[in-house]
Symmetry: C2
């Protein structure tokens, strides 16, 4: 199906918006009136720009307070409409959106509303245009889609149809099944938006909290299925008012938006992108650093051994059990020090995984490799993290490990046997985008979002996992763009005995994050521990949590550049220690150089 997006959903000037929509692959746009008014381009120039960009102008919107108002108001409305129809002709837009009236003088009179809309449609017809009438959820007398349709039906004019908007329908809890009673050719337009399930004033909810389908709590796909059964053949168009998107760069927002429509089309069965290939494990995490020494010291103290080196690049493989960490000192290292740059995801079908990612608009990364290296499919996540789809030690597939040459090393007593999870702090503005990306591109499952109190602002955190939780990625976002926690990422390592692992780390010269004594007084108040256990935790800085599934013991290394490590002993526990995160964050702030 054709896809479209309302310019109000994106930030910037009208031409920035159009460019971003085109680049992201949209077929058309809805021109939001205020964007036109604020543009220095004439309607003809905008029309030409859209044509150059391969965008059709699918809708001009909105026109307000037209119907069921006193006669003099209606006359003014019709005069206004004539001007706007002239602009639409210049713009090349053939359909105008009319929202149900919120005029204080509007009357509850469907016959009058139908009469006014018929007259408006007559005028539109003179201009070769169509009118799509939509019920606002907060319309004065018309606030449900079936009511709007009854008026359109009564008006019975070829240039008059209805516009359906998933937000207005689902926010009121209307049953979308009734959509199937509307003839498809009378549905002139379909606007889609999702929203988190908030109990709040619907106007505020609509104006500030809409999001793209799949990012909220509405069954947008279910609604679209009903619409498709009517034979509707117009575009799927996004109209999203959102305070975050208004500030975010238009380019990434448009990609996020278009991805949501691609996934929606897959869900309702009108598009078949390559099927998701769910990763089955974490092959490696790759750190880039301008200086390998500090991070190598931490890895060594954690029990990792440098087992191999890439045969053509300055990349070391550090390994311990199934935990593999690459340390890359090539030019990719950023000025701000050691960072987590890439994740190797174990994939049953690396090429298929990359095809899926590409179809869902993930940037495919060039294969920077020597001719003899294994071909590795890689894409970029929204936060810039490179995702490599790997097949480790499966004979039938190219193996990245074969590009590494073993180096002599002393096998230690491994205290760590895998990567428990990776925690990626997301750039501000792109948290919902990251969640949708990991769900749709990688086929991971998103858990509930939780608030975490950092001393300098609330953070949000949300984990995405595969079914057996052998892949766990915890996404989080800071409270504001300036928040200095934004760039800290971490690698949590699996251990069966966090106490032994922490002791060994410390004995090897590693520095653990110190945890305040008050935290342990609180643990003593909340739980009963065997004799001496709490003293051990206190000594080492081990944190404790418990859920319905089991217990969790974990501790943290100090931060190197923008990365730190966690030692995680998970005895059935399903969470990520969010309960302890405020204490950990405060300790990290306390450990920073005094300002």
């Amino acid at each position: 199906m054709r896809t479209s997006i309302a310019t109000v959903s994106l930030s910037g000037s009208l031409t920035e918006k159009l460019t971003a929509a085109s680049r992201a692959g949209f077929d058309g746009v809805e021109i939001f009136e205020n964007d036109l008014l604020a543009s220095p381009l004439t309607p003809e120039e905008i029309r030409a720009r859209c044509a150059d960009l391969g965008l059709s102008v699918d809708l001009y919107q909105p026109m307000r307070d037209i119907e069921a108002v006193p006669a003099d108001e209606f006359a003014r409305g019709l005069r206004r409409a004539r001007h706007k129809f002239e602009v639409m002709r210049r713009l090349g837009a053939d359909t105008v959106l009319v929202c149900s009236s919120v005029h204080p003088l509007a009357v509850d009179d469907d016959a009058l509303a139908a009469y006014h809309l018929r007259q408006l449609a007559d005028l539109a017809q003179e201009f070769g245009l169509r009118v799509a009438y939509e019920a606002l959820a907060w319309g004065r007398h018309v606030s449900t889609y079936d009511h709007a349709w009854r008026i359109v039906e009564a008006a019975d004019h070829p240039a008059l149809g209805t516009c359906l908007d998933s937000f207005h329908i689902l926010s009121r809890g209307s049953d979308p099944k009734g959509i199937e009673d509307i003839p498809g050719e009378k549905i002139f337009f379909l606007q889609l938006a999702d929203a988190p399930l908030l109990a709040m004033d619907v106007l505020q909810w609509s104006r500030h909290y809409r999001c793209f389908p799949g990012q909220g709590g509405f069954d947008v796909a279910g609604l679209v299925r009903h619409v498709l059964r009517t034979g509707y053949d117009g575009p799927l168009s996004l109209e999203v008012f959102n305070d975050v998107f208004r500030q975010a760069e238009a380019g990434p927002t448009a990609v996020d938006a278009h991805r949501s429509l691609l996934v929606l089309q897959e869900t309702v069965g009108v598009a078949t992108p390559p099927a998701p290939v769910v990763p089955t494990g974490i092959a490696f995490a790759e750190l880039v650093t301008p200086d390998a020494e500090p991070v190598s010291a931490v890895l060594g103290a954690l029990g990792f051994a440098r087992t191999a080196r890439h045969r053509s690049k300055p990349v070391d493989l550090w390994q311990q059990g199934e935990a593999r960490i690459l340390v890359n000192t090539s030019g990719a290292a950023r000025r701000d020090g050691t960072g987590l740059a890439a994740i190797g995801l174990e994939s049953p079908d690396p090429t298929g995984a990359a095809r899926r990612a590409e179809a869902l608009l993930a940037p495919v990364l060039p294969r920077r490799r020597a001719p003899e290296d294994a071909p590795l499919d890689a894409v970029a996540a929204p936060d810039g993290t490179e995702l490599f789809f790997c097949a480790t030690q499966r004979n039938e597939l190219p193996n990245w490990r074969a590009d590494f040459t073993d180096v002599a090393h002393r096998a230690g007593t491994p205290g760590v046997h895998g990567i428990d999870h990776l925690a990626l702090t997301q750039p501000w503005h792109h948290f919902d985008e990251a969640t949708l990306f990991h769900r749709s591109v990688l086929g991971l499952h998103a858990q509930e979002s939780v608030d975490v109190a950092d001393p300098y602002g609330l953070m949000r955190s949300r984990a995405v996992t595969n079914a057996d939780e052998s892949v766990r990625i915890a996404l989080s976002v800071g409270a504001a763009p300036t928040d200095d926690t934004v760039h800290a990422q971490h690698i949590a390592l699996t251990t069966d005995d966090v106490v032994a692992a922490a002791r060994r780390f410390r004995a090897a010269g590693g520095r653990l994050l110190p945890i305040p004594a008050n935290y342990y007084d609180d643990l003593a108040a909340r739980y009963e521990f065997p004799d001496g256990e709490l003293e051990t935790y206190r000594e080492l800085g081990i944190l404790y949590d418990r859920d319905a599934h089991g217990e969790f013991r974990h501790c943290y290394t100090v931060t190197v550049g923008r990365v730190f490590f966690e030692l995680a002993q998970r005895d059935g526990y399903r969470g990520y220690g969010a309960q302890n995160a405020p204490v950990r964050l405060a300790a990290q702030h306390a450990g920073r150089p005094v300002r």
Copy 2:
């Protein structure tokens, strides 16, 4: 009365919070448990720190899910309480807050709740402590203050009283009159918070949107009056959970918070700071600049004449009618160019105005003047703007104008006769603080807050005025700390004929902000203008708005540094052209150097 603040209301580490509370003048604090847990200081050290800072520890909070739970849960709760009471003894806190249970197994049984609270109070008494029981608005079975009080009354224990929280009471729409039925000595604590009137889930509302008294929509003062009639003699304590305050610097937030309590005490009649002295006009606006030429050129083109020069400082007075603009090239000029640094407010009693400001915690500015200069009382607004309280040409008072020596100038044909309003963009995080400051310190009236769509994010704007609107200040705040509109301020100048003033400005070489042609097509659609009028507006970039009181015509100069000017012809109109602000903002963005 004594004043207190919950540490959760401020950002940072516990010691940062305590320091900020003490500096702002609070007498005590509520220690929020998580702040204690995350602190590296022992309870004894925190107690000593508070003593050093002159703060009493008025409350330890919160204790949860104690009452009306199954016996084994209660036993665990009592065990937990014993640990916490020990911590409180070390901390020097004598009262603990117990919130009504939200435990899934809690039963609706007041007798059991009373029995449990009595046992808890017995234990508290052993430690020399008191228990203050509070109804959470979302408590499982106890959610109103009168219900909580009935349980406390039934428990009938000297160490058990109730805690009242204005948010929990007013958010549910409970009538606070019933508070007077509670004996004052059984009200162990009073927590105060205001909130904007939002129709939303009460838990979310409470956790994210509370604000300080006078910043929201609740009648907090009315509630406090009821509490005072009971004979309550504990502190007035602020407990405010707010996403913005969590990110803002603790110091200014604490000042804002304490100011709100000072004003509240004045409102309820228990404190009498110096009475407000409402300004009666704008004496001058002062620009600082590293280079007087560009702004002088704009002022000259606007019809201002350089009429005088300060006798000892590099400050020029530009005047036209009653519009006076000082151009200051002293060291105060900031690196980022020309900016609005100070406002002279015409005051019937400059010294009284300054005394009021000082009593309400406005920083009093040192009088940087030569011995012969007129003494000018000045304070800093929260955004750093200096406010001078002036008496221009009133013989009985020192006159700032007398410090200026007239210079020869050619009197032009004045097109401007005063300052219509000053528009001050506020630093992020401090919008509500600015409103409260201007209301309480200057005695101005705050109008409704409006949203304004900038192409790169939503802004909020709110005007504060005196009764006859001879002083109008429009406060606005950008969408995010990084928003590049944050620093643009503007001076709106009154004219009786904006067309003539604009033409003269242009003829004198001034550059007006160009407004898109599409805007005028929209005006033509919405209004009927006499022949040729719209063409004139289009030619000059004049914007138009209309409200119930009259018409508004206005246009803008291009920006110099961080300041621009508006020419405003206000024919009865009461607003500030918010309808046109998106077009103006887009035009200003469009006029910036391409990135």
